[in-house]
């Protein structure tokens, strides 16, 4: 089996080569022997990899994991199979890629939008950014109004597929 994690926009595969007598994982084509699995919990944890003790700190968010190891913070997300296949919820969501403030609403709830069409504009650090629809649909909800601030990765609007009349 392979497990995929996204780091800095790139997917990395973690394959289980063997579990016994020692766990062997293959990551990006390189095998590592993992002798001690650590606690798996948040906070200080330690592994033994290739006969070296590896201490690190872990924290988890809903969909992210932060690992501080050898003085460097890494941020990971579990690869979402549905999103990658082009279906699923991700395409119903309009997300803000950075924190900012809503400076313009260009669509109202109930209006139809085309893929790539701007739904709202946010301003951050004097830069204006348009947030656009990831696919064709109807604007189902807007969670932020003019002048509101938005967080990074916040879902600011949702789309739905128009229901087909019988």
């Amino acid at each position: 089996m392979a497990f995929r994690l996204i780091h800095d926009g790139h997917a990395h595969e973690i394959e289980v080569v063997r579990r016994r007598p020692r766990l062997v994982l293959r990551i990006d084509g390189v095998e590592h022997i993992v002798a001690s699995l650590g606690s798996g919990a948040d906070g200080d944890d330690a592994l033994e990899i290739d006969k070296h003790a590896v201490a690190f700190v872990r924290a988890r968010d809903r969909d992210r994991q932060f690992i501080r190891l050898h003085g460097h913070v890494h941020e990971f997300a579990v690869a979402d199979e549905l999103a990658e296949e082009g279906g699923g919820e991700a395409l119903d969501e309009v997300r803000s890629p950075m924190p900012g403030r809503v400076v313009a609403l260009t669509k109202a709830v109930g209006e139809s939008v085309a893929r790539g069409e701007t739904v709202m504009m946010i301003e951050s650090m004097k830069m204006q950014l348009s947030l656009s629809a990831p696919r064709d649909g109807i604007l189902a909800s807007l969670s932020r109004g003019l002048g509101d601030s938005v967080d990074k990765d916040e879902i600011v609007a949702r789309l739905e597929i128009p229901s087909v009349r019988a």
Binding site: M1, F3, L5, H7, H12, I14, V16, R19, R20, P21, L23, L25, I27, D28, V30, H32, V34, L37, G38, G40, D42, G43, D45, L47, I49, V54, F56, V57, R58, A59, R60, D61, Q65, F66, I67, R68, L69, H70, G71, H72, V73, H74, E75, F76, V78, M98, P99, G100, R101, S124, M125, K126, S149, V150, D151, K152
Partner: protein
């Protein structure tokens, strides 16, 4: 010494300087100011907006008052509510911290009108120094070097003609500005008219005041500032200087004291100019006079900050002087707590501003939730913060999360200690610049003290995190083993071969 009578109560040596002080700010600086108030036996009052109700800055004070406001930032800028809160709770002084209302002359005036002490200068001094044009005219009049400049009088074509006589490159700035808004570098005469038009319209948009001025632009300048204390009666002293050249987007991220490799003769003239300016303005409070220093040794007045500075701890560490305490004593009418010969600098200190921002994405602010915090500690280490695990880091406020400050016998030792402290620091749940700051400290130019305000931009490539595939693979293993599904596959699903034991194969 005469023996004290048995029934005589133990008293603090003096009556407290104020009955109660309200701190009109939030976050780390409130914790910092409250620490000194406690040492002075003065009760402290925090203010907060509902979004900060869990903030450690409330716990740091003896009392806390909620200030309502539509936007959280508006609460900390609400002059009327803050002054009413101070009066209602029985405070007789307000410390404004830095940012927010600290350099707002109307606030200082309102505080005084309410019969409270403003721990800062008079409103008129704030107003004088808050306007770039009046500040530089005042400085020039008192023999403080200012860069050659011209100002607009409404006729932009005439402004451009006069500005061209300064020579190039030159810098166009908003008179009312700050924070880099409305600033333009002009390198040739043909760019001048258009740049002036844009700067003026930006100044109008950001500050409601379209007045601009042009001044000589010093290429790759150092930013050096003098810390002064003034008693309000014409006496002032300096607490040496700080080097603040490591900046991004015109904002400091690393500061140190003393300024390294500063020729003693230049230091002496700079500190002398700063003290002269403070005396001439009959300055009352701690203040900072900022200069730019060119490679040719010429330095020019930049501006005066009439408040406690974010980076004041580096000065405290080399001088052993509590600047907040000095502010309070001066505001209470005690005069200067020291004479110039009493102020001695020892060793070197450095400060890193830990910000929620992504250096790989042009230092854009980041948001998140603080899930894990490990604070550095140890001898010669100060970690100024008001952080709490579970705290949401939003875009409502400035992205600075904390300040890490270290002291050492010399610059190298202070930096070594900072590197160790940055290693100890762990903030997880929001992207920060901590790793980036570590790379700046390790940079050969930084270590050699080749400092100027374009450092961050010029060394962008050198300061990028080098790829470390092995470290990334180890972190991927750690992350995979932190995933419940992956861990289940590894640990709990029975492996038929394993149950038979390896010897049977």
């Amino acid at each position: 010494m005469p023996e004290r009578a048995r029934d005589e109560p133990v008293l603090a040596p003096h009556a407290p300087l104020f009955r109660k002080v309200l701190i009109a700010n939030r976050g780390e600086i409130v914790v910092r100011i409250a620490r000194t108030l406690r040492e002075l036996f003065i009760p402290s009052v925090a203010i907060y907006h509902a979004v900060d109700a869990q903030s450690p800055h409330l716990v740091a004070c003896d009392e806390a008052v909620e200030i309502e406001g539509e936007a959280p930032v508006a609460a900390y800028l609400d002059i009327e509510r803050i002054v009413s809160a101070a009066r209602a709770i029985g405070a007789d002084a307000i410390h404004p911290g830095y940012g927010f209302l600290s350099e707002n002359a109307s606030f200082a005036r309102r505080v005084a009108a309410a019969g409270l002490a403003f721990i800062g200068p008079d409103a008129d001094t704030i107003a004088l120094m808050g306007d770039k044009i009046s500040a530089r005219e005042f400085a020039a009049k008192h023999g403080v070097p200012v860069a050659p400049s011209v100002r607009s009088n409404g006729d932009l074509a005439d402004f451009a003609r006069r500005a061209a006589t300064i020579g190039f490159p030159l810098l166009i700035k908003a008179a009312a500005g700050g924070g880099g808004k409305g600033m333009k570098i002009v390198r040739a005469e043909r760019e001048l008219a258009e740049a002036a038009r844009i700067a003026s319209s930006e100044a109008e948009r950001y500050f409601g005041d379209g007045r601009i001025y042009a001044e000589l632009y010093v290429d790759r300048p150092r930013h050096i500032e003098a810390q002064i204390l003034g008693d309000g009666a014409g006496e002032a002293i300096h607490l040496f200087e700080r080097e603040c050249s490591i900046q991004r987007r015109f904002q400091k991220i690393i500061e140190e004291a003393p300024a390294p490799n500063l020729p003693p003769e230049i230091r002496a003239r700079m500190l002398d100019a700063a003290v002269r300016l403070a005396r001439a303005s009959r300055y009352k409070n701690a203040g900072t006079i900022e200069f730019i220093l060119g490679a040719d040794g010429r330095f020019f007045f930049l501006e005066m900050n009439t408040r406690l500075q974010v980076e004041h701890p580096v000065t405290e560490m080399i001088t052993g002087i509590d600047i907040v305490r000095a502010q309070i004593e001066i505001a209470a009418g005690q005069g200067l707590p020291f004479a110039q010969p009493d102020v001695v600098a020892r060793g070197a200190a450095i400060e890193c501003r830990i910000c929620a921002e992504n250096p790989d994405r042009d230092f854009l602010p980041e948001t998140g939730v603080l899930h894990y915090l490990r604070k550095p500690e140890g001898e010669g280490v100060r970690f100024e913060n008001a952080l709490r695990v579970g705290q949401a880091i939003t875009s409502e406020f400035d992205p600075m999360l904390a300040k890490l400050v270290t002291h050492g016998a010399d610059r190298d030792k202070a930096i070594d200690r900072m590197q160790a402290a940055l290693d100890d620091l762990a903030i997880l749940g929001v992207t920060t610049n901590a790793d980036y700051l570590g790379r700046v400290l390790a940079d050969a130019s930084f270590r050699a003290a080749v400092l100027h305000t374009d450092f961050v931009v010029e060394r962008t490539d050198a300061l990028r995190a080098p790829p470390d595939p092995r470290r990334l693979r180890l972190a991927l293993i750690a992350a995979a083993l932190g995933d419940a599904n992956f861990r289940d596959v590894i640990t709990s699903v029975p492996d038929p071969h394993a149950t038979m034991g390896p010897w049977r194969n």
